[in-house]
């Protein structure tokens, strides 16, 4: 029974990594840049929910929607102000800018909300599911997280396959210049990608803080890096890859901790990452060019 319990914990953690990784992978696929500020957009999303829900007593659903809207706007603004002027610059300059934006967001949050740890009230208030006479407990947050993760992934894939905007994303990811020649609004498409990615970050943040209920200005940093690892693991640029990478990373982390050593769990995760990349440099589901978002 503890095996199943560990598996569920792993899937739960992995689903959160997966939702964050989806944001990384979409932006990378289309703008060809690593948006290291993604983890901090998550943190901002959490603070919005925390302030509106615990502070102003909003309905949880209203505050989550508000958080998605604010993060979406924030993502688009960051793209317009910090990344768009550097579209022709070297990838290294963009990378450093992204790290700069990440620190900026952390310090702005530090200034506004202070350094004190806040305890986040879960937005999911349903009772835990108890199976097998109470020896297997599945929290409602876990269920919501896993369902949300699957719904988001399927939704994104349908969006890209079925809609015009999605097709435009696909075109931009394959060849920016050719897409422009074909009449695709490249800047608009990149903005849309940032909007979707940041909206997802808000949802990921709410689920992250509901499951692991503390909030500081640095809350987003480490999950952001783990999720980036998950995106590379699954094949960066690939949506199903981010999903698979996230879930696998979560399961490996928890299993490593449970059955090998709780001190070595991170070492195990990254050792597996290195092995996967040695065998398949593009990641598990990564294919060169094709099927990139």
């Amino acid at each position: 029974m503890s095996f199943i319990s560990n598996l569920i914990n792993g899937i739960s953690l992995g689903s959160i990594y997966a939702i964050i990784a989806l944001g990384y992978t979409m932006v990378y696929g289309i703008a060809k840049m690593l948006n290291f500020a993604h983890g901090d957009v998550i943190m901002i999303g959490c603070y919005v929910v925390f302030t509106t829900m615990s502070g102003m007593q909003f309905n949880p659903i209203v505050s989550v929607i508000l958080s998605v809207v604010i993060c979406t706007v924030l993502g688009v603004v960051i793209e317009k102000v910090a990344y768009k002027p550097l579209r022709k610059a070297s990838p290294l300059a963009v990378l450093i800018t992204a790290i700069g934006v990440s620190y900026l967001l952390q310090n702005v949050a530090l200034l506004i909300f202070g350094a004190d740890t806040k305890s986040f009230t879960s937005v999911v208030t349903l009772p835990s599911l108890k199976l097998a006479g109470g020896s297997l407990v599945i929290s409602s947050v876990t269920l919501v997280t896993v369902v949300a993760c699957i719904v988001i992934m399927i939704g994104l894939m349908l969006f890209i396959k079925k809609t015009k905007a999605g097709q435009a994303m696909l075109a931009v990811s394959e060849d920016k210049d050719a897409a422009q020649l074909m009449g695709v609004n490249v800047n608009g498409t990149i903005s849309l990608t940032f909007a979707i990615g940041s909206g997802l970050a808000a949802i990921a943040g709410v689920l992250l803080c509901s499951a692991y209920p503390t909030l500081t200005p640095y809350t987003g940093a480490m999950p952001g890096i783990k999720a980036f690892t998950a995106a590379v693991f699954g094949g960066i640029g690939s949506i199903p890859g981010a999903f698979v990478g996230g879930i696998l990373l979560g399961i490996i982390e928890i299993f490593g901790r449970a059955y090998i050593s709780s001190q070595l769990s991170d070492a195990i995760v990254f050792a597996v990452l290195i092995i996967v990349l040695l065998v398949k440099p593009t990641g598990i589901l990564g294919k060169p060019i094709h099927e990139k978002v």
């Binding site: 350094a115 740890t117 835990s128 503390t214 709780s262």
Partner: protein, 383 residues
């Protein structure tokens, strides 16, 4: 007459120049005590408490006539719990004229700063940096327990009070404070009437999910979980244990202090939590009640043990300074040598010392009674 006027004018000018000096640079008739600690950043709760606690002690001392008849000048610099910033803060304070350092608050930056104070032979009292690395040099003295002492004392406390038969430990293996306590706790557990059934670690990079560690503690049948960690992670552990329906006793060390002030934390989760702390704000002795009420008036908050440690640190400096009879015009190094010699000879009846007070060995380690408190109805109650 003309001559007398000009002399008077010259004298007036000289006085005004000196007065100008006095307001902008160092006074000759005051002790300059600097403080360093995180007043922003993740550990801000500790640094702010130390800054405020020391301020109360300094105000009291200055009002009562100062140290050896000299007032204290006090300045506190922020280090954001960062070693590099802490060294910068130390240099800033030296430029200001610091003669004695009360700090730093947290262990990792303190380890960096003690190298500097040793090189300058600057007398240093740390209220709360608890690693033994901090007192490797003979110019540094601690007010708080060392990590090994906390581990040993916790194991003895649990054993002597028969709190549990099977104990699990969850600790941060990437943190010198946490792993230091854990090591001594497990070593001392062999001498006690309980068994350590699980030793589970986490690291700074994976400190959000503790479900696996808790599951292992539960499967091992632990009826008490020892948490030698900081309150931020502890608040997640309490929440996750509650979610999975695991309800053992929890026991923490001084890093647990602060858990009740986490904003929006459901304090009912901390009900029954025990922690080893040298200071309980609900104690009824005169010194504590006076300190707590002053602190509440000034800073609108209940002081934690860090504030009390800082308060004691300032009174310790005072006691040593009076024993050694130092003067502000002595050099930093002479002050340090005099205070070093005085420290093992003094006994400070502080807030954190219990009945026997605080005494020090020559190595800088403090000796005082450990106290345990239990959280009942959202407040610390002495055990």
């Amino acid at each position: 007459m003309k001559k007398a006027v000009s002399i008077l004018l010259v004298a007036a000018m000289a006085v005004s120049t000196l007065a100008g000096c006095g307001s902008s640079s160092k006074k000759e008739d005051a002790f300059y005590i600097g403080g360093i600690g995180p007043t922003t950043g993740a550990a801000a709760i500790y640094g702010t408490a130390v800054k405020n606690g020391a301020q109360i002690a300094i105000d009291e001392i200055n009002e009562a006539g100062g140290i050896n008849g000299y007032q204290i000048e006090y300045k506190f610099e922020d280090d954001q719990h960062d070693a590099e910033k802490s060294v910068n803060a130390y240099n800033t304070l030296k430029d200001w004229g610091m003669q004695i350092l009360m700090g730093t608050v947290t262990t990792a930056p303190c380890v960096a700063v003690v190298d500097k104070t040793a090189a300058d032979n600057m007398f240093e009292v740390t209220p709360s940096a608890s690693s033994t690395d901090v007192i490797a040099n003979d110019n540094v003295f601690q007010i708080c327990f060392t990590d090994p002492n906390q581990g040993t004392a916790s194991a003895q406390y649990i054993g002597e009070n028969k709190l549990a038969k099977k104990v699990a430990v969850i600790y941060d293996s990437s943190d010198v404070y946490s792993s230091g306590i854990e090591e001594k706790f497990v070593a001392e557990a062999d001498n006690q009437d309980f068994e350590v059934v699980a030793e589970e670690a986490f690291t700074a990079d994976s400190k959000t999910d503790f479900s696996t560690q808790l599951k292992k503690a539960q499967d091992a049948g632990a009826d008490l979980v020892f948490l030698p960690i900081y309150y931020t992670e502890a608040s997640i552990i309490l929440k996750q244990a509650d979610t999975m329906g695991y309800d053992p006793e929890f026991f923490g060390c001084d890093g647990m202090d602060g858990i009740l002030s986490v904003e929006n934390f459901d304090t009912s989760l901390a009900e029954g939590l025990m922690l080893l702390t040298p200071f309980a704000a609900d104690a009824t002795d005169d010194a504590t009640t006076k300190f707590v009420s002053t602190y509440k008036d000034e800073y609108k908050d209940t002081p934690n043990q860090f504030a009390a440690d800082a308060y004691d640190a300032i009174y310790t400096i005072k006691a040593a300074a009076e024993k050694a009879d130092i003067k502000p015009n002595m050099s930093v190094s002479d002050i340090c040598d005099a205070l070093k010699a005085a420290m093992p000879e003094i006994n400070v009846q502080g807030l954190t010392g219990g009945d026997e007070g605080l005494t020090w060995s020559e190595t800088g380690e403090v000796s005082k009674q450990p106290k345990a408190v239990k959280i009942e109805n959202g407040v610390y109650v002495g055990m």
